[in-house]
C-alpha cells in the first residue's frame, strides 16, 4: 500500500535565519474563506462572534488572536484562520476550505519591515501599517496577504504554487538588508 505523506508548501525551504531576521513556515492550519450571502453580513458577524469569539474584520483589519483569527481578505470576504468553521456559518456565507491553497510564512525580528519593504509597494511605516492591520497587496508580482501581528512580526501568504518564489525573494531581501 502506498503511504502518501502530506508536505507543507515550504517544507525543505524553511526556516531561514539571516542577520536579525527569521523566516519560518506557519502551519499546517485550518483556513476557510467566508463570503457573506447578500444581505447576510450582520448575521454572519453575529455567528462568527458566537461560534469562534472573533469579530468580523473591517477592510484592512485582522481580528482575534493566535489560534482563532479573522483576516480581511478582499471585497466582502474574510479568512478564518485556526478553527474548523462552525456549521452555522454556512447558512450565512459561502465557505471555501483554503487550508492547502496557500504558502504561509512569518517574518520576524528587527529589520523585518525593511525586508518586506523591498518586496511590496505597501506603506509599511509603523504608524500607517499597525499591529492588527492587514492588506491584500502585491509582493514581487504575487498576489499576497500581509498582516502585521506584532512590532516586528508579519504574516505573509501567497498562493501555494509560489512557495519557492516567495522564499527565494524573501531570502534575497533578507541578505541585502543584512549586508547593509
Amino acid at each position: 500500500m502506498i503511504d502518501l505523506v502530506a508536505k507543507s508548501p515550504c517544507a525543505d525551504l524553511l526556516p531561514l535565519d539571516i542577520g536579525t531576521v527569521t523566516l519560518t513556515e506557519v502551519g499546517p492550519e485550518r483556513m476557510t474563506s467566508l463570503a457573506p450571502y447578500r444581505g447576510r453580513e450582520a448575521a454572519l458577524a453575529t455567528v462568527l462572534k458566537q461560534a469562534h469569539g472573533v469579530t468580523w474584520p473591517a477592510p484592512n483589519r485582522a481580528t482575534g488572536r493566535d489560534g482563532a483569527r479573522a483576516l480581511w481578505f478582499g471585497q466582502r470576504m474574510a479568512l478564518l484562520v485556526g478553527p474548523a468553521p462552525d456549521a452555522r456559518l454556512a447558512a450565512e456565507a459561502a465557505l471555501s476550505d483554503q487550508s492547502d491553497a496557500w504558502a504561509v510564512v512569518t517574518l520576524t525580528g528587527p529589520g523585518a519591515r525593511d525586508v518586506l519593504a523591498r518586496l511590496t509597494p505597501l506603506d509599511l511605516r509603523p504608524d500607517r501599517f499597525k499591529r492588527g492591520h492587514t492588506a491584500r497587496s502585491d509582493l514581487r508580482h504575487m498576489m499576497a496577504s500581509i498582516t502585521r501581528l506584532g512590532a516586528d512580526r508579519y504574516r505573509i501568504m501567497v498562493f501555494r504554487g509560489f512557495a519557492e518564489t516567495l522564499v527565494h525573494d524573501l531570502r534575497a531581501a533578507m541578505e541585502r538588508v543584512a549586508a547593509r
Binding site: P59, N60, G74, Q75, P121, L122, D123, A135, R136, S137, D138, M143, A144
Partner: protein
C-alpha cells in the same frame, strides 16, 4: 502613480490592472442598432485631459474601479466603485 481605492485606501499603481475607457458602464441594450454596437466595441476617444477609465484592484480587494483622471497632468480626480455606479443606474 497612486490610486485611492474606496475600500483599501491609497495604493501603488502596481496593484491595479488597467482595463481602458469606462465604456462598459454604458453598454447598449441588446436591440440597439449596429451603429451603437459599433461605437461601443470599436470607437474610443483619446482625450488630452479628463478621461474616465476602468481599473481592477487585482492585487488588492478585487474591486472594479472607475477612475477619473487627467492625461496631461496625471492628476487623479476621483475613484468610485463600479458596482456603486451600476447600482445607482
Amino acid at each position: 502613480m497612486r490610486i485611492t481605492c474606496p475600500i483599501c485606501g491609497a495604493r501603488d499603481r502596481r496593484e491595479f490592472y488597467y482595463m481602458g475607457a469606462a465604456v462598459a458602464l454604458d453598454r447598449p441594450v441588446p436591440e440597439a442598432d449596429a451603429a451603437a454596437w459599433n461605437a461601443y466595441i470599436h470607437e474610443r476617444d483619446n482625450p488630452a485631459g479628463l478621461t474616465r477609465d476602468l481599473w481592477y484592484h487585482e492585487a488588492g480587494c478585487g474591486a472594479w474601479l472607475v477612475v477619473t483622471r487627467d492625461t496631461i497632468s496625471h492628476e487623479v480626480h476621483g475613484v468610485t466603485l463600479a458596482s456603486d455606479m451600476r447600482a445607482g443606474g
